[in-house]
Amino acid sequence: MEGKLLRYDVIKNILQTSNNSPVISNLGPTSDELWHITKELELLPRERNFYTYGSMGLCSSIALGIAINTNEKVVSIDGDGSLLMNLGTLSTIGRVSPDNLIIVACDNEMWAQTGYQPTATAFNTELENVSKFCGFKNTFKCTNIDEFKNIFENALKIKGPTMIVAKTKETGEFPEVTPVEPEFTTYRFRNSMLNNNEAKL
């Protein structure tokens, strides 16, 4: 296990540097941490957060659907377990090639919430290479927060699609579940995108 990063620090840096960009988070601890960090940074309600609660594997597919309809940078905070369940979506993203989509894959090499069972990235699968051969324009891997900060800052400027594999470790602590109703997330997120895209629509 090469990861030294905390998903917490990764998410915090994304929120601090991506202004009002749409951020889509994978189910479970990623969505929960996104809400708690948004609160900590006094950014709530941050209408551009799209928390997911189920739909295993679809975080980056949802982000793709959003990215196609906007010119803003769209950030998908995905995980290794989720991406491995739906690797096909990496090839669809490579095919469509939206230049505004950034995937941050928090790769802890395990299914942490279900009992720390190792995933295939703990063995021979390298998500940055999978993405590269699916047609991603830029692929990065990082193992500490300073590396991540530089890579993410650069990713916000360059043309994607971009994959950033952040090798993370688990602390054994999981925050409380995001206290936002899914339908409220949809309503708030969509309204914020509609207001922004008025000219387009």
């Binding site: 997911t52 679809l58 597919s61 949802i62 659907g65 959003i66 739906n86 096909g88 669809t92």
Partner: protein, 181 residues
């Protein structure tokens, strides 16, 4: 089959395709995600050649649900085309994303396992599609050779957006002629 029947059959095929495309436009549905199916290829081919639509072919039907849901929440109405076998790949996405998050998406599902089916592997999923939709509380309608096609398609899309949950529009071989072995 008589020559007249063949001509009439051809005319009907043109008509149902046009009705579906017109209905999509009536409801500002300009984003389509699909996994190919030979019987609904007539619609998806027209859609792909029409600049009104943004089209994303996916690797798996569940992925279509994610992509189309992303489009809806970004403010652009979306629809999905797939076959009943692929509907079997979508169930957790529908029940854990679209139903709790109230994301309405009209789904056009070609029904296999109907009259003329020749492949045993298509029978169970084809015939289970509508019962499964009932169990997960997703409304559905089946299009066959009846005369109220436009009302059925457009009216059910209206219902879909009013209820803010997905709705299935199932296409039977009586509508499109089915898959020829």
């Amino acid at each position: 089959m008589l020559i007249q029947d063949i001509i009439l059959w051809g005319y009907k095929m043109q008509e149902w395709v046009k009705i579906i495309i017109d209905s999509l436009k009536e409801h500002d549905i300009s984003f389509i995600s699909y996994v190919p199916d030979i019987s609904i290829d007539k619609v998806t081919k027209e859609i792909e050649s029409d600049p009104y639509f943004t089209v994303v072919p996916a690797t798996r039907e569940e992925e279509c649900i994610g992509i189309a849901s992303g489009s809806y929440v970004s403010g652009v109405n979306s629809a999905i085309f797939m076959q009943s076998s692929g509907f079997g790949n979508c169930i957790n996405a529908l029940t854990s994303l679209n139903l709790p998050a109230r994301i309405p998406i009209p789904m056009f599902i070609n029904l296999r396992g109907e009259i003329g089916e020749f492949n045993i592997a298509q029978v169970t999923m084809g015939r289970s599609t509508r019962p499964i939709l009932d169990v997960i509380n997703i409304p559905h309608v089946t299009l066959d050779n009846d005369i109220n096609l436009h009302k059925k398609v457009s009216g059910n899309i209206t219902l879909c957006y009013a209820s803010k949950i997905p709705l299935a529009i199932c296409l039977s071989p009586l509508l499109h002629g089915g898959k020829i072995a």
